[in-house]
Subunit: 304 residues, 2 copies
């Protein structure tokens, strides 16, 4: 059991309000004055969630995007956010961070409402938190709502962001669509709002298709088979579509597509890619070109 | 202009939603579905806002208390909070932090609803953020609502927490009421809710009586004279009530009493201590025993 898992166990004892949903989802759902608030918060740490050499505007963008993606998975409309910011000691860096954050907030109509700014002691890694507040516009999908027989879908291909990160690790000046996918992920807010009234379960794919699908299945008390790993043209062009490339794409994180389930025979209300099906039982099966694959030791990005 | 002031200037360009109140208050006020949410967030950094040797339960308590105090100053009812936590690498430390946090949350009926837990790179200072969500129960007082002729009040004495910090700096094993005031500040939620419908202006005293009074006056476009610095019995017993002790108490932070104004002739709806009056003009005057004092170079705790 990791330190984070042990801490989460203690946190659950504290978070005993129904709105906290036992901390088993990415968000809290808080009823207030006839509305249902959707609450989420993410922290990004220098050296852990981003590299000190990353462009600050992209770090700011990503902090907004990861929180907006959690709202998207609930079909929520962004209402506003609060920023906890650690000053860098470099005004130009701070200004660029805010510029990227501001672009993402403006693009997705999420006002910045407040927060706190601090200095860190010399030499410390910095960290940034954003807390996003959204409002449910209809039914709020959960991870654990899938039923046996449901089909599993993605709103888009996976693996681009992971491939972009590989490119950047080899050459910090790399550019192109894979690098863009890594640095400027796009939260699927419009898709989430369209899907929310129809899906039986939904979540965003932040840690990787394999691990997030396993989580959706576990929360639903079901088994799941993934029989298709959708790749983008950009990724196929760069790396081909071998079994190894597909497995790498299924393990890669930071794509922020939406993963959802619908009963067999129900057509998705938007263009979506069928990737598998839910079944009675438990566990994850990965088929590539019809063949069951041994699962990698590490399914994706596991926190802690 | 400090780095924080420069950053705040940039932030204000982004935070152009009316709910953000130009970031000139400690909270945002967001109307949602017939309710008005009160939103605030505070970050505590190791080595800046607390000492690495402080008991973790007290750090957890204080993180909750400082956010609850911001809600108190708006007369708001706590609805819930989200925690951004940096794991310490020491399970017992983390558990003790949560125990203190949980005590403060339970005492003030603020449920923990979610958040994020991260690891920091080896050797980094850790930081913790809490974002609190409250609901306005009536009129929401602002800092800038005082009028000329209004009387200025405090809900209690000042200087205890600062004196407690001095004791702890001299001896980390120090104990007693002054140390308690420093480590376990009590947010004035009941007082705030009682006062909110009556006051012309209100804020909590987090950075010190002098500096926070100057802020209230500036926001109200007025001058202010403080003619009384109330001391607790514990502080008088420990240090006496000399002019120097009174000035130190007026500069000390972390007391979290409420500072508010009422028109002359209006009796406060609870026991409160008259400490001064608002006047036409600008600037802060400090009188001790009827004599105008030169203001100290540093009025209190200034961020950044």
């Amino acid at each position: 059991m990791s330190a984070e898992s042990r801490f989460l166990t203690l946190l659950r004892l504290l978070a005993n309000d129904p709105a906290a949903q036992e901390l088993r989802d990415d968000v809290a759902v808080l009823p207030v004055g006839g509305a249902r608030l959707i609450l989420t918060s993410d922290t990004m740490v220098e050296g852990i969630h981003y590299l000190p050499t990353d462009p600050p505007a992209d770090i700011g963008w990503k902090l907004a995007a990861v929180n907006l993606s959690d709202l998207a998975a609930k079909g929520a409309k962004p209402l506003g956010c609060l920023l906890n910011y650690a000053l860098s000691g470099d005004d130009a860096w701070d200004a660029a961070f805010l510029e990227g954050l501001g672009e993402a907030l403006e693009r997705h109509a999420m006002p910045l409402l407040g927060g706190d700014t601090v200095k860190m002691p010399e030499g410390s890694a910095r960290s940034y938190s954003l807390t996003a507040i959204g409002e449910a516009t209809g039914p709020v999908p959960v991870r654990g709502g899938a039923r046996a027989g449901d089909r599993l879908y993605l709103t888009g291909p996976v693996g681009d962001a992971g491939a972009g990160l590989d490119l950047l690790r080899a050459d910090p000046a790399a550019a192109g669509p894979l690098v863009d996918a890594c640095r400027r992920p796009r939260p699927r807010l419009a898709e989430g709002a369209l899907l929310a009234p129809h899906v039986s379960a939904m979540m965003d794919v932040s840690d990787g298709l394999l691990i997030d699908t396993a989580r959706l299945a576990e929360a639903s008390g079901l088994a799941v088979t993934i029989d298709h790993v959708p790749l983008s043209r950009a990724l196929e062009k760069a790396r081909g579509a071998s079994t190894a490339v597909q497995i790498a794409a299924a393990r890669a994180g930071d794509d922020y597509e939406l993963l959802f389930t619908l009963p067999a025979g129900v057509k998705p209300p938007l263009r979506a890619i069928p990737v598998g099906r839910m079944e009675r039982g438990s566990g994850l099966t990965l088929k590539i070109d019809g063949t069951i694959m041994p699962l990698p030791d590490r399914l994706g990005w596991e926190h802690g």
